[in-house]
Symmetry: C2
Subunit: 201 residues, 2 copies
């Protein structure tokens, strides 16, 4: 950035690369870092490095963990016969926040995206099939995102899992809770209509 | 934050302290840091620390610099007889971006704020008076912010500078360029009216 001194500019450059940080925020953060006591900057810097080193992938489900196996897979109270397949660790976390799920996860760490050259061998598909052979699984819930890549990944997995003696389901797509019909897009509305459920009498 | 692993939570905690970073952004950044290659995280961490170490205050104007004297003060082409007084280094930078100022700055590094216990001895007021004695200054432009503290600081400085043989001026306050009367607050409108200028015939 023109007109600012080099050290500020170097922080600015680093922050600009982070997601959701625009030019103005990056500059504001750079000024803030300079204003912070040196110990606090050191603590921030060391936290980033240490956390990066401490995080591993769960050997079972490939979620993020700081142990060999994540807390959810290690929890005997969870239902290990139901696997919810998500794209990313943050998706598993979002599901956990809903407090509506008691099973375990399988984190693909990506989704099929032919345009980006990402095929089934680049995400944790093989590992999902291995889990099916190793443990008694009753249901697999496909909870990939509801965009083009996520839907394609779900369709691919549904096809792949057909020979296995397991129930395969897909999370519902429809009008978000609290959502207005007026502001919903056409595809969401069509899906909400298609997947309508009968109200018990 | 509940339900996330410790290393992620530690990054989250650090980012949450930064200005303009909310819960969701901090979490997103934490996931991003974990996804980054370790060298990139190291570079980010080291940049913050190194920049913090490299930045000093200009001995003349107290702006941020990586030398003893900032580029503006060291520039013989700038008008050293005009001093623009601002609260913070970012304010001097904002003025520079306007490309409308050829003089030098004096950065107070704060403003008077009795409620926070910040008095004249806590900001660089004494140093401004010293500059007036040391160098030939014709005009001092008070460019503190247009909020309660900034206006009070400007009023205080105007009073203090009265005995000195120097023109003291205050930046104009009025309707922002491109601003609609309809959306301007009453105080801005009153100020814009009060400070109206005659159009040359």
């Amino acid at each position: 950035m023109a007109g600012i001194i080099k050290p500020l500019n170097s922080i600015y450059d680093q922050f600009r690369r982070l997601p959701g940080v625009g030019n103005k925020s990056a500059l504001r953060l750079a000024y803030h870092i300079i204003d912070m006591p040196e110990e606090d900057v050191r603590r921030l810097a060391e936290t980033l490095l240490q956390a990066k080193k401490d995080v591993r992938f769960c050997q079972e489900c490939f979620n993020l963990t700081d142990h060999d196996v994540c807390e959810i897979c290690a929890d005997a109270k969870r239902d290990h016969s139901t696997i919810c397949v998500v794209e990313q660790p943050r998706d598993a976390m979002a599901m956990e926040r809903s407090h509506g799920y008691a099973g375990v996860y399988h984190v693909l760490r990506g989704c099929l995206s032919p345009l980006d050259g990402i095929g089934p061998e680049d995400i944790r598909v093989k590992e999902l099939l291995l889990r099916l052979e190793k443990t008694q699984v009753q249901e697999i819930i496909l909870a990939t995102n509801s965009n083009v890549e996520g839907e394609a990944t779900a369709a691919y997995l549904a096809q792949l899992l057909r020979p296995y003696p397991v129930i395969v389901s897909r999370i519902a797509r429809g009008l978000p809770m609290g959502g207005d019909l007026e502001y919903a897009d056409e595809i969401t509305l069509a899906k909400a209509l298609e997947n309508r459920t009968r109200i018990a009498e």
